[in-house]
Symmetry: C2
Subunit: 333 residues, 2 copies
């Protein structure tokens, strides 16, 4: 081979590499999703709404994708992570509240009897939330959440809670954004509990977070304005509240909706009964080795009606054990 | 001159043109704003938060700019345009409400006595709003607004209301977006009254509109889910409610805030007392030939405290008559 042909060959190789990069890049999006019907359903839907000339083409500004958080983007066992935060706050605030030593549900928590404390059901939990999430400024609450999320560890994995996010879902968020989608969180969790960290972890800015909230009040204290968190609920963004929250914050119907429990049923229903192409997906927790396996009987993230009706409504059901190569990013790829 | 030097010269000219294009492009943003301190204040602020290496540099994802609507982006005289819509709706719905013939404030409106109808103050107006804005699905309300905004004409100018938008503010919205800002509306007006048309007119998508709202409820009617607008107020996004609304929807403090009345005072205060560079601006209606002149004594868009305190708080006050070459885009440039 003479110099000229070597030169030509290396030019060809160079060209091949340049041309191949985008091709190889496109053949394997969602690397943590196993090949199969679930992954194909996502890729085919995105292709049909984004490809120019497709009869189902949707312009970029209408490509809204909404994600539940607990059990959909990060784990939710052995209990919602915000509930663990709440219990930790009761411990931290106890010195300022000597009356909690004898007052339920606080007394049980301080004695380490969480189950007993939560035996009062939703009422007890909401009382705990108001006692620990209200009475301070939004700025002070943000600092408290930021400190906790940066240090507290999960009781089983001993990982930061922000490490307990699902690698396949992180890839999905990136993939949708790279296809012109605007990604939102629509969670039953507290909006101000999520905002301090979701931009760093999920790439979702605070203005694209919808959640439950308590009322706040504007006050000027010694010349400095603050927003004070009041002991009064404002909005429950769960179940039939989710489509209400979506309408209130986004003002248009999503194109794609991702959830994992019956608390997401109505937002999937609202999404997938819209005109034109729509996509609904439920994450089914089926892996008791790498994560947890639970559905119909679980108090946390109960999934029953979604399993009964999802398939006939055309929703995609993710079988975590079968469909995900990796669950958490700290697992070996 | 030999060929070589001609070639060099044309290379230099070519280079000069290439280099000059962005320079010329930058010398005249905001063409409807007269040169002067007001325009300079805007340009200088945007330069200092966007130029790489500037000590006041702010990354793009934190560049939030919020705009009041009535009196800031579009006109608000002789009364808020949504109030005119409300009166038109009373007329349109009257055949379905024979009881309105004798029931105030409806009876006065149907007789053409608007002043008398509104003599009941805010209570009468809110009753009219609930009677005309609730009881239908969000989709039906959207259609009603879309039809009205596409056909109804302003009583004085005989223009569509969407033509009554301020040309200098349209240029400002574009200018800020081209500098990486995300633009939001933060209005006392109804969120669902604005969303159907603001994307087309202002380039602001529905998910970046914050406004007053009534409660909605999710229902499945004959297998089809709908959101029903209830006869109950949800949130008043005015005065001290504006920073509350900003926090609820956006979750971070704006960098720039634009208003025109004392209803915007608290959101300017909230914005400009934040850390780092912040910008507040009030549009002062001073032109009774091309628009309207009003401030301290006006029932609509009253501006008094803002005039008293704005300057010492470092806010920029726009003198519409002096600062704007054009007010409406239908005027000759």
């Amino acid at each position: 081979m003479n110099k000229k042909s070597i030169g030509f060959l290396s030019f060809q190789i160079g060209l091949a590499i340049i041309l191949a990069v985008p091709v190889f890049g496109n053949t394997s999006p969602l690397p943590s999703w196993k090949e199969g019907t679930t992954k194909s359903a996502i890729l085919q839907f995105v292709a049909k709404v984004t490809e120019n000339g497709s009869p189902d083409y949707v312009p970029s500004h209408e490509r809204i994708a909404v994600f539940d958080n607990d059990g959909t983007l990060w784990a939710e066992q052995p209990m919602y992570f915000q509930a663990i935060f709440t219990l930790d706050r009761v411990q931290a605030l106890a010195p300022q509240h000597p009356e909690w030593k004898t007052q339920e549900p606080f007394a049980s928590i301080l004695k380490g009897n969480v189950k007993e404390a939560l035996a009062g059901g939703e009422k007890a939990l909401l009382e705990l939330v108001l006692a620990t999430h209200a009475g301070m400024t939004t700025e002070d609450f943000r600092k408290t959440v930021t400190e906790w999320i940066g240090t507290a560890k999960h009781p089983k994995t001993k990982r930061l809670y922000t490490e307990m996010v699902y690698q396949p879902m992180l890839e999905l968020l990136d993939y949708l954004r790279s296809n012109g989608f605007k990604t939102f969180i629509v969670s039953g969790g507290g909006i101000e509990f999520m905002r301090p960290w979701v931009e760093r972890i999920y790439g979702i800015p605070p203005e694209q977070v919808i959640g439950s909230s308590i009322k706040t009040q504007y006050e000027v204290r010694e010349g400095k304005p603050v927003l004070v968190r009041l002991r009064e609920f404002n909005f429950f963004n769960d179940k039939a509240g989710k489509p209400v929250g979506i309408n209130q914050y986004i003002g248009r119907r999503p194109l794609m909706t991702f959830g994992n429990s019956d608390g997401d049923f109505q937002m999937l229903e609202w999404t997938t009964t819209g005109e034109g192409p729509r996509f609904g997906l439920l994450v089914h927790h089926t892996d008791d080795e790498r994560e947890w396996a639970y559905d119909r009987e679980s108090h946390i993230g109960r999934l029953s009606r979604g399993l009964d009706e999802g398939a006939k409504r055309g929703w995609t059901i993710v079988n975590m054990k079968a469909d995900w190569k990796r669950i958490f990013s700290f697992e070996k790829p």
